[in-house]
């Protein structure tokens, strides 16, 4: 148990098996261990089916864990439902359609995010002061969304919706930000825009962040930590110094080494 006050996120022995005891049994997480310090920006890589999304879902509360502990800021949250964790954890999904409510306006979506972690009551959802904050947060994206507050979100493009989701996830600073391939479904320009907005907000607020990506350049360029996941375990955990020396091809070698080591061991 780590009560070290410098630990922002501690994941210890987290396991999750889907469909246990059936032919479809899938041990998606086989004992995940790692810690993040406040402000760490960890990139998570690994092949398809490695368990990256399952890990992020387990952190967010969308799926329950069979065993292990998850703590954020020293608070154990593994038994909390998703909506309760939302006061500590926020996320951006891979699918740009998932992170916003299409039938609501931009400002209504933002007002939902602004009340995250607070009691909601029967006051009007959007007050003038809110609009000012929303414009201030949207303007730096350079998409003109600050002038479209009353437009319904289903009028926006995927890139615009994903940018809005990112603003929603960071409007109230989370203790842990989860990004699951959040630029993978976007065209290159939109992906770059969302990625820039991500690094900007993460750096500005020193947000502790986990970002899953299949883009090796992103994995090298962004973040100060790197976690490589394979078959439900962390097989490579690079700290700041080690990560700064990594290259894309080095990373691929590293992956093959780790995987073949395992095969030998098994």
């Amino acid at each position: 148990m780590s009560n070290n006050h410098r630990t922002a996120v501690a994941v210890e022995g987290v396991q999750r098996t889907f469909h246990p005891g059936t032919v479809q049994e899938k041990r998606a997480l086989r004992g995940i261990d790692f810690e993040l310090e406040p402000g760490d920006f960890a990139v998570v890589i690994g092949s398809n089916g490695a368990g990256k999304s399952t890990l992020l879902n387990a952190l967010a509360g969308e799926i329950s864990v069979d065993s292990g502990h998850i703590s954020v800021d020293g608070i154990q949250i593994q038994s909390w439902p998703t909506h309760r964790r939302a006061r500590l954890v926020s996320r951006v999904f891979q699918d740009p359609m998932m992170g916003t409510a299409a039938a609501l306006t931009i400002e209504e979506n933002l007002s939902i995010a602004r009340r995250r972690g607070h009691r909601r009551n029967l006051r009007l959802s959007i007050r003038n002061d809110d609009r000012r904050v929303f414009r201030e947060r949207l303007a730096p994206l350079g998409l003109g969304l600050e002038n479209r507050l009353t437009d319904r979100v289903d009028l926006l493009s995927g890139g615009q919706r994903q940018s809005l989701t990112l603003i929603m996830a960071t409007l109230n600073q989370p203790r842990l930000l989860l990004l699951d391939e959040h630029t993978a479904a976007l065209d290159p320009r939109a992906a770059e825009l969302v990625m820039n907005a991500t690094t900007q907000t993460v750096e500005e607020h020193h947000t502790t962040t986990l970002m899953v990506t299949h883009n090796m350049n992103h994995a090298i360029t962004f973040g100060n930590r790197l976690l490589m996941i394979h078959e439900g375990r962390v097989i490579f955990n690079a700290g700041a110094e080690e990560k700064s020396k990594l290259t894309a091809s080095g990373l691929v070698d590293r992956f093959h080494d780790a995987v073949s080591d395992r095969m030998v061991l098994n």
Binding site: H83, A86, R87, M98, I112, L122, L124
Partner: protein, 296 residues
């Protein structure tokens, strides 16, 4: 041109009827449109409201109290559907059918018999209009005032923090959870609200026709749905004001169409067939349009 004079005769009554059904149409619109959760409970909450109100009037209570208790009963019944749906993971449609089936027995228990006549008791119509319940057009005017108040309250509520959260749960549950909303409670509240509107509609209906009958809910769901679709075709649903106005406008137009059909010689018993065909056509229209677009 006999049918014109028949229609003109029916006009005032059909206007009032449309206004009576506007409430249950709102109660059908909420689950289908705001929550995106199809629900049939209104077929049971509508007579529930009627039964509760009739029983209280017959016991000597005033109609306003009757309406309030009817609303509370509707909240409980609507909430029950939501709880069954959520706890037992039963599709909402089936949960609603179970609840409305059980409500049939409960409604008879409430009244002590399958129907209750209210000709001898004061209703909102006799109290606010005149002793014989008022002319159809004054009934219509009174109902429109109540409808505007209800719609105004609904419009305000759906713009509050809780109301926007409710709409968000209807639009995207995964995102709503991630934004800290306890989606289950919102669904219970949302179906409770729908139950309140339907039961209120039933309670108004019982006073309007001066009796409550346990079978008075049969067919209200499809009327409410037809009204919502018809209204959306006329006023649209691009924003909340229009979405709220749609079932009201739709209910008013629907009963004008009914009056026309009757004036043209159709039997009242044909109406459900026609309503069903209308709803089918509106559901099939996008499909047919797509087929045509692909083949053409």
């Amino acid at each position: 041109m006999e049918f014109i004079s028949v229609y003109l005769n029916l006009f005032p009554v059909s206007l009032a009827q449309g206004a009576v059904y506007a409430f249950v149409a709102l109660g059908v619109m909420i689950p289908f449109r705001v929550l995106s959760l199809p629900d049939l409970t209104s077929e049971g909450t509508f007579p529930l409201g009627g039964a509760v109100l009739a029983t209280l009037l017959a016991a000597g209570y005033n109609p306003v109290l009757g309406l309030v208790v009817a609303i509370l009963a509707g909240v409980v019944a609507g909430g029950a559907t939501a709880i069954i749906h959520l706890l037992l993971k039963i599709p909402s449609l089936l949960a609603g059918i179970i609840v409305l089936t059980m409500l049939f027995s409960i409604n008879i228990r409430i009244m002590g018999k399958p129907n209750t006549a209210l000709f001898d008791f004061d209703t909102i119509f006799t109290q606010l209009l005149n002793a014989d319940g008022g002319a159809p057009l004054s009934q219509f005017a009174l109902l429109m005032v109540i409808i505007l108040l209800v719609c105004g309250a609904l419009f305000w509520f759906l713009h509050t923090e809780i109301g926007v959260a409710l709409r968000s749960v209807g639009a995207n549950q995964m995102m709503s959870r991630a934004q800290g909303l306890a989606t289950g409670w919102y669904i219970v509240g949302g179906l409770g609200l729908a139950g309140a509107l339907s039961a209120f509609g039933g309670a108004v209906m019982a006073q309007y026709q001066s009796y409550a009958d346990v079978t008075m809910g049969a067919g209200v769901l499809i009327i409410g749905l037809a009204a919502t679709i018809l209204g959306e075709a006329i006023v649209g649903n691009k924003n909340l004001a229009r979405q709220i106005a749609a079932p009201v406008v739709g209910a008013l137009i629907y009963f004008q169409v009914v009056a026309l059909a009757l004036a043209l010689g159709l039997r009242p018993s044909d109406l459900r067939l026609l309503t069903g065909i209308f709803v089918l056509c509106t559901l099939a229209a996008p499909l047919i349009a797509r087929r045509l677009a692909r083949s053409g």
